[in-house]
C-alpha cells in the first residue's frame, strides 16, 4: 500500500512568485519567529524588523539568495545578544545578493554579522556595539564578510570589537565607506583581499585605525589593489586589548593606517591626527613563515598627499624615546621597515628602519630619515571597489 496523503508545507515550486514582505515584531518568541522567517523566505523577499529590542539567545542565520533584512534604523531596531548561549556569531549569512540594512546588534558573544561565501552583499546603516566598551572578551569582528566577491559596507557604525570592527577577509571587489569605527583594536581591516576601496570613513579611538594585511597559510592570499583615501583617522590611542594570540595583538597603540605585505596600495587624501606611534606604517609580515605561495613584502605601496597633524609623538616602539630624540622630538609621519617597495609623493617626511631581511626582528634596524622615490606612474585604480549593482540597491 502506498500512502499518498501526508501533511506537508509545499514550498519548493518552480513557478516564479512575487516577492513578499515578512514583518517581525519584538517580544515573546522573537528568536523562533525571526529565524523561521529567515529560513522560509524566498529569493527577493524582504524581512522587516519593527522597531524595538529583540532578546535573542542563539545566533541567527540566512541562507536564501536575494533576501533583504531591513530594520527601523540602527537606533530603532536592536537585536540584543547579551544573553546569547550558542553559535559563533549573531547573524551568519551564507547566500548571495543579500542586503542587510537599518538595524543594530548589541553584545554578540562571538562575531557580529559574518557573511561567508556570500557574494554581492550590502551592509547599509548597520550598528554593532559591545556596550561595555573595549574589553578582551568582546567578540572578534563586528562586520565580517569573508570569501566573498562584491562587498559594499556603507554607513555602518562599529564599536568595541576585540579584533577588527569592520573586517573584510579573503574577498574581492570591496567598498567600505561612510562608516564609523570607534574603540576597536583595529577599526577597519582589509585582509588577504583584492580590489578594495576604503573611503570617507572615520576611524577613531581604535588601537590602529585602518589596516591592510596579507597573511600566510590561508586559502586566499596575495592581497592588493587597495585604495585608502579621504578617511579621517584621528586619535587612535586605545591600548591594545586583543587576546595575545591574534595577529592584531601586535598592532601598536597609535597606529593610523598600516600596510603589512600586500601589493599596490594607495594611501592618499586622508587626514591623520593623534596617532602617536605612526600615522602611516608600511612593513613586511613580521613572523617567520613556510608557505611558499606567500610574499611577505609590501610591494608598490604609494603614500600620496595626505594631511598630517603631527607624527609619532609617543611611539610604542622599542627604543622609542631614543628614536624620538634622534628625530627632534617626534617621529616623522610615515614609517617604513625598509623591506619591499614604497613610493612617496611630494615632501611627506618619513623614516625607515632599514631592515634587510624579513622575519628577523628589529635587531638589525638602522633607523634613518626616509628618502623614498616618487611613484613611477599613476596608480591604476581600475576594477577597484564594489560592483555598481550593489550601489543601486541602497536607493531601494
Amino acid at each position: 500500500m502506498i500512502r499518498t496523503a501526508f501533511s506537508a508545507i509545499l514550498l519548493a515550486s518552480a513557478a516564479p512568485v512575487l516577492a513578499e514582505t515578512h514583518s517581525i515584531e519584538p517580544g515573546e518568541g522573537a528568536q523562533e519567529r525571526l529565524q523561521e522567517a529567515l529560513i522560509l523566505a524566498q529569493p527577493g523577499d524582504e524581512i522587516v524588523l519593527a522597531a524595538g529590542r529583540y532578546e535573542l539567545t542563539d545566533g541567527l542565520s540566512l541562507d536564501v539568495d536575494g533576501v533583504t533584512v531591513r530594520g527601523a534604523g540602527m537606533d530603532g531596531t536592536v537585536l540584543d545578544f547579551t544573553t546569547q548561549a550558542g553559535a559563533g556569531e549573531g547573524l551568519l549569512v551564507t547566500s548571495d545578493n543579500v542586503t542587510l540594512r537599518d538595524f543594530a546588534m548589541e553584545n554578540p558573544k562571538g562575531d557580529g554579522i559574518k557573511s561567508k561565501g556570500a557574494d554581492h552583499i550590502v551592509y547599509h546603516r548597520i550598528r554593532v556595539t559591545w556596550t561595555r566598551g573595549p574589553h578582551p572578551e568582546n567578540g572578534a569582528y563586528a562586520i565580517y564578510p569573508v570569501e566573498s566577491t562584491g562587498v559594499l559596507v556603507d554607513g555602518v557604525k562599529v564599536t568595541g570589537a576585540s579584533d577588527a570592527g569592520i573586517y573584510v577577509g579573503q574577498s574581492d571587489q570591496i567598498t567600505v565607506r561612510n562608516s564609523i569605527a570607534e574603540a576597536n583594536v583595529a577599526g577597519i581591516e582589509i585582509e588577504n583581499s583584492r580590489n578594495a576601496l576604503v573611503e570617507h570613513n572615520v576611524a577613531t579611538r581604535n588601537t590602529g585605525g585602518i589596516l591592510v594585511f596579507d597573511l600566510p597559510d590561508l586559502p586566499v592570499m596575495g592581497g592588493g589593489n587597495v585604495i585608502v583615501r579621504n578617511n579621517l583617522v584621528v586619535a587612535n590611542d586605545t591600548p591594545n586589548f586583543a587576546p595575545p594570540g591574534n595577529i592584531v595583538a601586535g598592532v601598536r597603540r597609535g597606529t593610523g593606517i598600516m600596510v603589512m605585505a600586500n601589493e599596490d596600495v594607495l594611501i592618499e587624501d586622508n587626514i591623520l591626527s593623534g596617532n602617536p606611534t605612526a600615522p602611516v606604517m608600511v612593513i613586511a609580515y613580521v613572523q617567520p613563515f613556510e608557505d611558499e605561495r606567500y610574499n611577505p613584502l609590501p610591494r608598490g605601496v604609494v603614500v600620496g598627499e595626505n594631511q598630517f597633524d603631527g607624527g609619532g609623538y609617543d611611539p610604542q616602539l622599542e627604543g622609542g624615546e631614543m628614536l624620538k630624540a634622534a628625530f627632534g622630538g617626534a617621529l616623522p609621519p610615515v614609517m617604513w621597515d625598509g623591506l619591499g617597495s614604497l613610493y612617496v609623493t611630494g615632501d611627506t617626511p618619513g623614516w625607515t628602519l632599514n631592515l634587510t631581511e624579513q622575519g628577523k626582528g628589529l635587531g638589525d634596524a638602522q633607523p634613518a630619515p626616509l628618502s623614498a622615490p616618487a611613484p613611477e606612474s599613476e596608480f591604476d585604480s581600475s576594477g577597484i571597489g564594489a560592483p555598481a549593482e550593489l550601489e543601486a540597491r541602497l536607493a531601494r
Partner: protein
C-alpha cells in the same frame, strides 16, 4: 483460514523525494513502530566506529534506500546514496524508563540535492514534529551536567553539512563503518572500510589515530577546504598529512578571543598551550569549538586530543 501475517508498510517515498517539508516524522514511515524505532523495509541501522560527540546523547542512526537500490562505496569516503535515500538520526538521553527521545534529524536525498530537516519529539514520545527554527531543551547529560541542549535550526544543519555550496551527509564514510556491517547488509566489504578506530576500544589504537579519528569526525566537516571553516586554513581531515594544515605551529587567523592567550593551534608537547584543545575545553560561545551541537565539554575526546599533542616531539 489463517490470516496472512501483516505486511510492514513501505516507506513513504513521496515524503522523502517529493517537494515540501513533511510536518511529522511519522509521515515518512521509516519505522513500523516509531517509538520503538522498529525499522521498516529498506531501512538499515548503522553505527560509526568513531562517532560525533553530541553532549553525550545516545544516537540511533539509520539509512534508507529505495526499493531495489543500495548505497555504493567509492573509495574510503562517503557512501554514495541514490536519489530517494534518507539518513535518519535520533538523539536520546536517559536510561531505561527515564529514556527520552529528544530530536530526530533527517537528511533527504532529493533530485535537487540533499535536504536537512530537524524534528522535535513530543512530550508523549509518540511522534516528532518539524522544528525548522530549532529549539532549546533543558536536560541532564549522562555525566550529570545540566545543560541547555540545542536542537539546530534548518540553516544550522547546513553549517556542518555544507560542502562547496551543497548539503552532503557527514557520518557514513566507508572508513568509519565496520567491515561486519557491510558484510551483513550488502554481502561484501569495500576497500578502505573500517579504518578509524572503534571509539570504545581506542586505547588499542595509537594516540595519533584516536585523536585524528576524533578530529576527522568532530571537526573536519567544517575545518576542510570548501566547508564552513575553510577560511581558517585549518584542515583536520583524516587524510590530511601536512602538519601546518593540521594546525601544528599554525597561527590562528580569525579566532578572535577564541585563541585566549595562546599563539598556535597546536604546540607539540604542550596541550595546554594549544588553541585547538583550549577551544575544545570551553563552553563559552565565541570561544567554544565546535560552535554548534555542543553545550558540554567532551571529556573523552579532549583527553584523546590532549594525549596526542602531549606525545608529539617538541619542536616537531
Amino acid at each position: 483460514m489463517a490470516m496472512p501475517p501483516a505486511m510492514p508498510e513501505p516507506v513513504n517515498d513521496e515524503a522523502v523525494s517529493g517537494p515540501g517539508f513533511p510536518r511529522l516524522l511519522s509521515d515518512y514511515g521509516f519505522f513500523n513502530n516509531l517509538q520503538a524505532h522498529d525499522v521498516g523495509p529498506g531501512v538499515y541501522k548503522y553505527e560509526l566506529n568513531t562517532p560525533l560527540y553530541s553532549d553525550g546523547a545516545e544516537k540511533l542512526r539509520y539509512i534508507y534506500t529505495p526499493f531495489g537500490t543500495e548505497p555504493v562505496a567509492d573509495g574510503e569516503g562517503l557512501l554514495e546514496f541514490p536519489v530517494g535515500s534518507a539518513l535518519i538520526k535520533t538523539f536520546a538521553f536517559g536510561e531505561g524508563d527515564e529514556r527520552r527521545l529528544i530530536e530526530t534529524r533527517v537528511l533527504l536525498h532529493r533530485a535537487d540535492g540533499w535536504l536537512a530537516l530537524p524534528y522535535l519529539w513530543n512530550e508523549e514520545q509518540t511522534d516528532a514534529r518539524l522544528a525548522i527554527a530549532g529549539a532549546r531543551i533543558d536536560l541532564t547529560t549522562p555525566r550529570g551536567e545540566a545543560i541547555s541542549y540545542r536542537v539546530p535550526n534548518k540553516n544550522q544543519c547546513k553549517e556542518c553539512h555544507g560542502l562547496d555550496g551543497e548539503v552532503v551527509p557527514i557520518g557514513p564514510k566507508v572508513r568509519n563503518l565496520s567491515a561486519d556491517w557491510f558484510a551483513e547488509h550488502f554481502g561484501e566489504v569495500p576497500e578502505g572500510a573500517d579504518q578509524l578506530p572503534v571509539w570504545a576500544h581506542r586505547e588499542q589504537a595509537s594516540a595519533a589515530d584516536a585523536a585524528r579519528a576524533y578530529l576527522d569526525v568532530n571537526c573536519a566537516h567544517c575545518h576542510r577546504p570548501g566547508a564552513m571553516a575553510s577560511n581558517s586554513g585549518l584542515d583536520l581531515r583524516w587524510e590530511q598529512d601536512d602538519p601546518k594544515a593540521l594546525g601544528i605551529m599554525k597561527r590562528p587567523v580569525a579566532a578572535g578571543r577564541g585563541a585566549g592567550e595562546l599563539l598556535f593551534d597546536i604546540v607539540p608537547g604542550d596541550p595546554e598551550g594549544s588553541i585547538l584543545l583550549h577551544r575544545m575545553l570551553s563552553n563559552d560561545p565565541g570561544v567554544a569549538m565546535p560552535e554548534l551541537g555542543k553545550a558540554s565539554v567532551d571529556v573523552e575526546g579532549t583527553e584523546a586530543v590532549r594525549r596526542w599533542i602531549a606525545g608529539m616531539e617538541k619542536g616537531e
